[in-house]
Symmetry: C2
Subunit: 223 residues, 2 copies
């Protein structure tokens, strides 16, 4: 019963996601869906990314949270357009929510939209939002066993950011096992090590991001 219902919701969502993808595509916007556990550091990573790339690209952020607009305020302070979605208890963003939120943005004047999904390592992985690609953020204090325990996220993501590597020496996190497990789930993905608070690893992440942006644009022009 539960599964049958989920299928119906998923197929409605897929239809809306394709619609979103068309809209973003027509405007030449590359959309990135950022997913993680609560507190893995998505907002801090976005703050650092905006600081480094906002002179070069016209960016906006769609923020998903159950409650509060704290993250949206943090992004707003970085000087880029932001739309807050409050799911009011909902455990993931849906394509319909993104469709509505995109009406609050000036799509004519954007090149990159980051979607910060609800902090949840389970449900967001099953919902296409119409993004170009997904990025999963995992963090050192969560432990090295997360990829195998929450495989869908790591399978779906084009890159995995391992955040809070400044805490490696204060935990029993086994980097070798983590990398081995991520690549066993997804051998085409990239793993980027980062400490958003210490500011390390941003160069590699931004370089990767710009490469993917160019690749997505080239695909569009090739169509």
């Amino acid at each position: 019963m539960e599964i049958k219902v989920l299928r119906k919701i998923l197929s409605h969502n897929e239809h809306q996601a394709e619609n979103n993808r068309d809209i973003f595509h027509k405007h030449g916007i590359v959309v990135i869906n950022m997913m993680s556990s609560p507190g893995a550091g998505k907002t801090t990573i976005l703050e650092g990314t905006i600081d480094r790339l906002k002179a070069k690209y016209k960016m906006a952020v769609i923020e998903g949270d159950l409650m509060t607009s704290r993250d949206a305020e943090r992004i707003h302070n970085k000087g880029v357009p932001v739309v807050q979605i409050n799911t009011e208890g909902g455990c993931h963003l849906s394509a319909g929510m993104i469709y509505k939120a995109s009406h609050e943005l000036d799509l004519e004047n954007l090149e990159i939209i980051f979607i910060e999904n609800v902090g949840n390592l389970v449900c967001p992985g099953a919902f296409d939002l119409g993004e170009n690609f997904k990025v999963v953020v995992s963090s050192v204090p969560e432990g090295d066993d997360k990829p195998l325990k929450y495989p869908l996220m790591f399978q779906e993501a084009r890159a995995c950011i391992l955040n809070k590597v400044d805490l490696l020496s204060h935990t029993n996190f086994n980097l070798h096992n983590f990398l081995k497990d991520v690549y066993s789930l997804n051998n085409k993905g990239t793993v980027l090590q980062l400490s958003a608070t210490a500011g390390t690893g941003f160069d590699d992440w931004c370089r990767w991001l710009e490469g993917e942006y160019q690749w997505e644009l080239a695909k569009k022009h090739g169509k």
Copy 2:
């Protein structure tokens, strides 16, 4: 549509949860539903709790994970009965899953059952499993903003364990704000500070747990 469906699932779940509660009650078992984000430290806390209390109480654990039986193996190594539930993608345990799992346990010979829910700070809060009470584990590296962003968990729990306090000095976690926010959501709850890996704070947690165990038994006898 989505909400209507969720209501139907919830009411089916509530019925099954009451059934579970009756069964556990008849056997004089106190059941504790442990919830948290992925990697907040539920399993490590249970390992430490079992070490300290297994000579005194007959305990068992029901382990919920999307995939793998790693946590169940860790609990098994502590010498108490454990049942693994793999939700295969499902984002929370349901009362029906607990009902089935309880058939794998010798209820005649148990006093306390810990349920370790799927690592998810959203969905498990909405599903009664037939437990006596819920405990939410939050951890320092997740940040001090989690209570207001994921309020249901903190409202539903009788106690909040703040784990990984050994990392307080390595993060910008504001303990004052965290405590203020937890108590603003739930002024009857208890907050217990702990470091499961360093082994600190277990005395207070175990003392609190034993008090609640006695209180639950007294309520039962009073019926």
